[in-house]
Symmetry: C2
Subunit: 324 residues, 2 copies
């Protein structure tokens, strides 16, 4: 059994590789919901949608979000009605938002709604939101205290980031099955998603970090940083704003307390060598070099295979520590 | 000032003719909301939408409802999610439903939401829902107690009708401006809409029938019945179910207590002659024959012109009665 912690775009590609090399029934995907928003009155969960569409084979490969081949006629009509249109909801995509909103209005939890939507899409992997409680990623910038989607989509992540917080996290509880899936898995994988705004919201839910620390699973992360920049998006700027190096070292530090294996791009072989000379390696964290940048489907499959192989060969850091 | 009482399809055509021969600022359109429904959790008002789209020049001429040239991709996606799709909401049409639902959720009344939507569409005529209270037209059939849309759209008005009622009407109040628009108008027109399920719900709101009776306006209705059948839809079956003749006589009887002038199709000239020999004519109701079937835009304009001319020439029935 494999449990994956993930955000949307980069994470979805990684999950797509995994589902091609592992029976989907063996996959539990724990998804960031810190980016969720009410849009036109509808409950939208961008990362749950990306993962759901990807697993259903419907994610737009060009956009990396939304439904393949979708149209935007409702959006244009909303524009004519003077409504905001910076968040792009496609016509087919809207069906998911409308259906989820209805399920929630009918009293279902977000995890129950997520399971129902996944079932309707014929998805065999298990998709879990990180929490049924509302946790909102807030990005403080000179322009104001923004929601993640305001920062990321509306303002194109151009604002300098002063701090990031997860409003509601301290009172939130993990969704049913989340800590169990972490504790009972043989392998826990952190997708190459933005550590600060995709993975950290999940880790901010009380109980999840502890479950990772206490799990007997091997825990591996794929670095979303290659060289000195993020493969996509604002992960670099956000890591720097949090005081972390924009490098595989920064990612290793970010996950320092529970990671057994960091998977980095082959182009970072030298940095990986340096990383192995730090205290992290002494504490038992291992590093695996492979091609992590996923341009084509073959890259996704190859990365999934490589990560699985490396984790099979890697030791559990806990054992290293216990033996030391 | 002209006030029109109307439903959707046939009424929208009539209103379209009127707006071409009268300054739209002089028109107040009071619209049936007995067909309103929650669809996919969204508040949908079929008749308000038809009137709004018509006045905005966006009503689909082929369908007679919804937005011209609309697509149905969200609907198809909802079908794939296993959701009901018998009520057809187009992608552009959805924007109106989503926007109205949001306005209502934000605490606006239906009439305030209607005014805001009309303003965004650039409509100069005043559109008023009959009431801000929820009044639901229920059609009792051997198949069950159906909402109007279930009876009309889902089941194609094939069920024998046992009775029609307007749930909530007795506790409802007319929307702000409704009785004033009836009392202060020079002319009140009943569109050639279904008397039983488009006009009767409006008349069922306490205070509206009285406003019609007491208004100094001339009151004219265009018959939706030509010969022995309705021009479109189930008006014939519904009139019969209510014990009215399916003829211009049935329509005259339906509006007997306040109508000054009944406008009927030229093909009903003989029936009109017979009608004039009844007690209704003695009570002051007049009949005007013209072409009422609207196939082309010219027909709409010609009907509007003919009705306006006839009402100018007709006497007030109240005066006839008072003089008698």
């Amino acid at each position: 059994m494999i449990t994956v912690l993930t955000g949307g775009t980069g994470g979805a590609k990684f999950v797509d590789g995994l589902r091609q090399v592992v029976p989907p029934e063996n996959l539990t995907i724990i998804v960031n919901t810190g980016d969720d928003l009410r849009w036109w009155g509808l409950y939208v969960s961008p990362d749950l949608d990306s993962i759901t569409y990807m697993l259903a084979g419907k994610l737009s490969p060009e956009r990396g979000w939304g439904v393949q081949g979708d149209t935007f006629l409702c959006l244009r009509a909303m524009e004519q009605l003077g409504q905001p249109t910076w968040f792009h909801a496609g016509d087919r995509d809207l069906a998911t938002h409308i259906f989820r909103t209805q399920l929630l209005a009918g009293g279902k939890t977000l995890s129950a709604a997520t399971a129902e939507i996944a079932a309707r899409f014929g998805i065999k992997a298990r998709i879990l939101p990180m929490s049924d409680s509302r946790v909102e990623t807030r990005v403080l910038t000179p322009a104001g205290d923004l929601s993640f989607e305001e920062y990321f989509v509306q303002r194109h992540y151009q604002d300098p980031v002063q701090s990031v917080r997860f409003a509601g996290a301290s009172e939130a509880v993990p969704a049913p099955g989340v800590t169990e899936a972490i504790r009972s898995a043989e392998l826990v994988l952190l997708a190459p998603s933005n550590p600060v705004t995709s993975i950290a919201p999940i880790l901010a839910i009380p109980g999840i970090r502890q479950a990772l620390s206490e799990s007997r699973a091997r825990i591996a992360a794929v670095s979303p940083i290659v060289g000195r920049t993020a493969v996509t998006g604002p992960a670099g700027a956000l890591l720097a704003a949090q005081g972390f190096a924009v490098s595989i070292k920064g990612v290793a530090d970010f996950y320092h307390d529970f990671l057994d294996l960091l998977v980095v791009d082959a182009s970072d072989a030298l940095a990986a060598q340096e990383l192995l000379e730090t205290g992290l390696a002494k504490a038992g964290m291992q590093v695996h070099c492979t091609t992590t940048v996923m341009r084509k489907n073959e890259d996704r499959v190859a990365l999934a295979r490589s990560v699985l192989q490396a984790t099979t060969q890697s030791r559990l850091r806990k054992d290293v520590r216990e033996r030391a």
